[in-house]
Structures are given as C-alpha cells and as structure tokens.
Symmetry: C2
Subunit: 199 residues, 2 copies
C-alpha cells in the first residue's frame, strides 16, 4: 500500500529526470498532476469506449489486448521502462479498439485533456518535454516494428528478452507468445532450443 | 521540374492545413523552412551515418531499408499521406541503422536542429503542432505494429492495400514483399488467390 508521501516522492523523482524542469516547477506539478493507484486486474479502458484519460506508468505493468475471432490477443506491455501507455483513441477521442488492464498493482499518472491544457498554458516547457517523450516512444515503436518485419520468430523472442528482460518473470508465457505472434507451443519449442542449443 | 513559385504554393497549402497557424505566420515560415527537391535515387541517409537533417514528404516517396545478411530489406515507405520520415537517430544524433532513399523525384521539407530551435523560439505554436504530428505518427505506427502482431501474411497484405492503396502502383512488388516480411513467391501466391478466390 502506497502512502501519499511515498507517491509524492516517486512523482518528484520522475519529474526530476527532466533537466529542463526546475525544483519550483516540479513542486507545483507534484501538487497538481493526478496520480492513481489501481489494483491488479483493474480495467483502465474497455474496447469500444472513448478514453477519458491517458496514463504513464510510474510503477507496475499495464497490458493492452483485444479479441480476434473470440481469442484474446496481447498487443503491448507498458512498464516503468516504457511508461507512456498508448494515447491512440485518447488524442483523437475515438472508440478504443483494445482493452487496457493493470497486470500488477500500479502507480500511474492519469492525464486528461483539461488538466493537460491547463498545465501546458502555465508551463510551456511541458509541451516541449511531452513532445520529446512522444518522440522517444515513436522511435522505440518504429524499432519494435522494424524488428517484427526483419526477424523470424526465434530471433523475435531473443530481441524481446533483450529489450524487456524483466517481463519474462512478470507476465504469463501465453501472453508473451500472443504478443510475439506465436502459438504457446512454438514459444515453448523456441525456449527449449535456446536452453539446450545442441537439440 | 518544380519552380520556386510552385514549391512555395505547395508549402503554403501544407501549412494552411494546420488551423492553429495564421496567414501571417505561414507567410514567414514559407520564407524560412528549407525545402529540397532531390531526384529519384538520391540517398538521403546512409547506414552508419549520423543524420544531419530530418524530412517531411510534401510530394514523392522515400523508402527505408537496411541489409540483413547481405540481403536488402525494406522496413518503411513515406509518402504525402504519412509524410514524417522517421526521426530516429536524428533526435538523439546516433549512427543510423538504416538507409533512406528517394524512390521517386521528391519535394521534401528538410529540418535541422538549429533551424528547428530558432522556429520553436519564434513561434511556440510550432512545438504544439509538431507534438500533434508526432502523436499522429505514433498512433499510426502502433496500429501498424498491432496489425503485424495480429495478422497472418494474407491479411497483412490486405491491410497494407487498405492503408496505403497507392503504393502498389508506385513500388516494385519485391520491396512490398520484403516490407510485409514475405518472400516474393509468397506474396505472388497471396495476390493470385485474392484475384481468383475460387483457387
């Protein structure tokens, strides 16, 4: 259970990672940025709904999934390492084509259009910071897409391990298989071959 | 051959598509934004080089590719429809892992860090506009990635036709196959099956 002081400390630490923000601005932002602490299993967004908020993961794990022919398919994981949960459907206020669920207890920044606009007007530097965060996200997403285009399944798993090494212990294997576009059986075979390369 | 007046007209038309920009700002920007007209075959960026500029396609087609085990693999196409050529390696000034080539005669906005910084300082609204453009790019790239994760090859091609219908007549089939992670033979079979669904 997170208390208010510990949450403020974590938010301060996150904001302090942006050199362009001075201590005074950070102190004001910490009082104004809404933070939520949803439990594991909380549905943040449901397929078909128009998102009311967008999220940044300070702690925990959010999983993105959707149903294809009745089967649940995982399409993204967001953690402290790549915290910006997709703002697709939020920025253009359209009905979501996927679900977002907390796969662990989470500590999340929960933005919304009104609060964002107010902060941007008061602290123009935030527009620049948000722009850089989105740029980083875009570069990472393009890299992930390039990996998908270039890599056969075995290599795709090796790259996943390299890019997000912690996830293998935080997420059930069938969800990782789904995310990599593999059947659980194929992933199992790939993992066995990696452990015993002589086979 | 594009003359200066026609280039200015096209740039004005592009900037006028952003409601936040007034006519006066557009007139100043048109005089200051560098536009280039590279011919088909021009290499804009070479694997291993640190990018000196970033590009937006006003007209034409830029192809992104890299070599994997000696084979050329296409990883993205940028046209008037999705004009922001990836700024990966440009924004963090690292060595490019891919090449960018003009696949047609092009009309491109060519940004660089100094000019960008000067424009942002003079017209803060540009930061907001650029942020929105990157957001749109991010949403589209995430959607493309989701399609890759969810779709078997045949469906991937159908989605490609839907998302970028003009490309089929502008790009050699072996490059489209490469981009879709297919062999030219597989793509050829898929195309035949789509034309004659009874087979």
């Amino acid at each position: 259970m997170e208390d208010a002081t510990s949450i403020e400390q974590k938010l301060t630490q996150f904001l302090a990672s942006f050199p362009a923000l001075d201590a005074q601005t950070i102190a004001v932002l910490v009082k104004n940025i809404p933070v939520i602490t949803p439990k594991k299993g909380t549905l943040l967004l449901k397929e078909g709904e128009v998102p009311k908020a967008c999220y940044y993961v300070l702690e925990g794990l959010v999983r993105q999934y959707q149903f294809v022919d009745g089967t649940e398919r995982t399409t993204a994981f967001y953690t402290e390492r790549n915290g910006s949960v997709t703002a697709a459907h939020y920025s253009d206020q359209t009905a979501a084509t996927f679900n977002l669920i907390c796969a662990e207890d989470c500590l999340l920044i929960a933005g919304n259009l009104e609060i964002d606009a107010a902060h941007y007007a008061e602290f123009p530097i935030l527009v620049e910071i948000t722009k850089r965060m989105i740029e980083t996200d875009l570069n990472e997403t393009q890299q992930t897409l390039t990996n998908f285009i270039l890599s056969p399944p075995k290599e795709r798993y090796v790259q996943f391990l390299k890019a997000q090494p912690d996830l293998i212990n935080r997420v059930p294997l069938h969800q990782i298989a789904s995310y990599l576009g593999l059947t659980p059986e194929s992933l199992s075979r790939i993992r066995k071959r990696l452990v015993t390369p002589s086979n």
